[in-house]
Symmetry: C2
Subunit: 504 residues, 2 copies
Amino acid sequence: MASHDETYQLLCDQAKEAALIDSIQQLLEWDERTKMPSTGGAYRADQAAYLSGLTHQKQTDAKIGGWLDELAESSLAAKPDSQTAAVIRLLRRDYDKKVRLPQSLVEELTRTAVRGQQAWAEAREADDFAKFRPLLEKTVDLKRQEAAALGYETTPYDALLDQYEPGETAANVGRVLMGLRDALVPLVQAISDSSTRPDASVLAREYPVVAQETFGKQAAAEIGFDFDAGRLDVTHHPFCVTLGPRDVRLTTRYDPRSFNDGLFSILHEAGHGIYEQGLPDDQFGIPLAEFVSMAIHESQSRMWENQVGRSRSFWEYFFPLAQKAFPAALNGVELSTFYDAINEVQPSLIRVEADEVTYNLHILIRFELEKAMIEDDLQVADLPAAWNEKYEHYLGIVPPSDADGVLQDVHWSAGLFGYFPTYAMGNLYAAQFFAQAQKDLGDFDASFRQGKFGELREWLRTKIHQHGRRYSPAQLVERISGAPLSHEPLMEQLQEKFGKVYGL
Amino acid sequence: MASHDETYQLLCDQAKEAALIDSIQQLLEWDERTKMPSTGGAYRADQAAYLSGLTHQKQTDAKIGGWLDELAESSLAAKPDSQTAAVIRLLRRDYDKKVRLPQSLVEELTRTAVRGQQAWAEAREADDFAKFRPLLEKTVDLKRQEAAALGYETTPYDALLDQYEPGETAANVGRVLMGLRDALVPLVQAISDSSTRPDASVLAREYPVVAQETFGKQAAAEIGFDFDAGRLDVTHHPFCVTLGPRDVRLTTRYDPRSFNDGLFSILHEAGHGIYEQGLPDDQFGIPLAEFVSMAIHESQSRMWENQVGRSRSFWEYFFPLAQKAFPAALNGVELSTFYDAINEVQPSLIRVEADEVTYNLHILIRFELEKAMIEDDLQVADLPAAWNEKYEHYLGIVPPSDADGVLQDVHWSAGLFGYFPTYAMGNLYAAQFFAQAQKDLGDFDASFRQGKFGELREWLRTKIHQHGRRYSPAQLVERISGAPLSHEPLMEQLQEKFGKVYGL
């Protein structure tokens, strides 16, 4: 018995050592994407590859398999609902997947991801897909190798998807997204037919970058992001990364002629950051302090960005502060004009700027394209044309340039295939969780209106954050809402909100 | 023969692997001192300790000893002047020192250095030495253990000094500093007796931080720091760090009511950075791309800061640009007023703000105090009083607070004992090298006046940078100037310059 406790401790220590090395690699990546000088990239790729190889070694050490075998028979694993059983089960899952990947492939994937992101940034800057193509071809090839090594039943895409969303399949994602699309179409049509049109020009006035940063930090802090354990920097493509139990970093980008770009990215990334800061510090490095899945992570960012950050009551509190921060742009503007403007629905080219209603169509496009690339049904050379075709088909618009089209997202350059669908699933989880929070606690409008966001945050902490990865996405949504994931809560919220905005 | 070549390759690869890990640790430290959120420190210490332990493992692997033994007999080591012989000799020296240090001590030193710097920053902020004292006591104790492990003949201080300045001793440093002091005293006295007094009030006008940063970057770039392979950030205590062959980072701090603080720190750190950028990229990780010693490093920073950056011809070019950058402060100011102001000699409290004439007295104080702590002749508890006594004795002033006294430097908190003397030696090397460069190339005034600094930079690159660590400090100064290090070049330059400023 004592021996099993010791083995369990050894297992956790090994996981923590791997997490520590990985956290250093996250710093390399954060720095690469926010600070690193332009010619530092080649050596940075070597540094990142070295650490990813080392992490992989620690995660695939044969003694882990021995410990797991030993513990499988122990009382620690006997009660499936216990914390220890969950840790053992999840580390077994991780180990079984990791040992299938040769270290050389892991290092090559990392090196290619670093170089790929550099090539992508240059190609995007130059609006020249050809500069990115060789790296993307190499990346797709490596991801196919990765899928083959991991194994799959139906499609290699499932093997990649499962890394971000345990248990999820391409078939199910396709069904869900198509179902959501069918429910959205009448709403988009009704909005399009409406004679009400928000005037969004107010959002394209002068918003000085320094004031955007100050206001964005204030908003992030007020919804609950702790800047003593985090920071905010500028990057090409906003992200959130955790460098340790008390070090969570947000990034955004600013456009001095756009209110939306900077602020809603900050609220979004702060939602991720609040989740990370809500995981138990003292368990850092084992599944009890890890996030559930990418979609659950995204549910947190989208809830703070959309259900909260694009609500009227949020702006009843923040709009006067925004007017002080941006007097030239917002003095004399009515709250209702502003509120309608940030909720304008308009098929657009850029995913991260898309409205709540059309956003998931952007995901559908990426899902279909990346699945086709991984299944070898689409060649990288044909990607820009395929991208433009899909945009015309689903959104009725064609990007005027690759920079605003196929080059807009960092994901593929970083080797993130199978990641995009989790954005759409995240939107569904966000709506379902938010609906449940309102059922549990009543309407939040009165507290939001006073700048009080703690009640919702504590609800999320108690229901989701504090459990780490103990429950699967499916278990979690069932525990919280008593029902499996459905697109209905999202559709109800969209219909309610946009029905008002567009006078439907 | 082929086998020796292979062994040599293995030896170099091992050194490069250790350097790669160390370069990642440098990123951890850079981030800790410039970006890390306030509560991230505890985990950061674990990360840094882990990597330092790993670097130490790579540097002390027994197979290195075997390779070195094998190569000692080979033709690669036969010609002492060859590059390969230098690499083998220097790696032997490094290995023999490293293997004397137990890994547990190395990790503990690193962890304590990270925590010590955090405690120091807090103590300095709060002007409360007591907050720093326990960490400093622990650091002194660990450094004494380190000296004991390394071994020494006369004093444990020599073992620490030798890590920064190979072959240097406390006895010799004491002699040099005392000799320099004796030569300085009549000059300080003459300046003090002079009726000419520069009006330095112009330097305490409003210098907006944003303009300081822009102007400082321009100056650093014009003297030759490459911002495509480096950057500049803000910190408490300015430093320069290399994170890879194309990634050299400068830091500074700004005071909106001081011209000197920001700019001369930038020129100083850019001098370090130009040296690092001048080392051969393709040899990164082996002694051919490493700096000679801390004093030689400091000679590069001090030359750009003082011999160049505080010269009249430098400002004949830059002063009009400074007037554009800081119109409110500098419009209508005469160049000669400004030049005299930046060369004011005034015994002061803060080392990094000290003038060229009194600077070395600050070093003398630190040298005596740290030597006494390491030799157990001074207890940490008594350090603030001892500090104040020495300042009264050598400079005639007593710090009004510990923040401006014993807490002003980061070095001891980071475990850097034996480091301070290299600042003074660096001043002497700088003067001797600059005198030789003028002998070789003629006076630089005409080119500086036109903003041309390439001639001096190339001279430094050819004479010093490109050789890496191939020559010892003593060999280098002999090769370059045909004479051993002397305080005379510095004294001649000071007498010439300050004789004019003070009308002596």
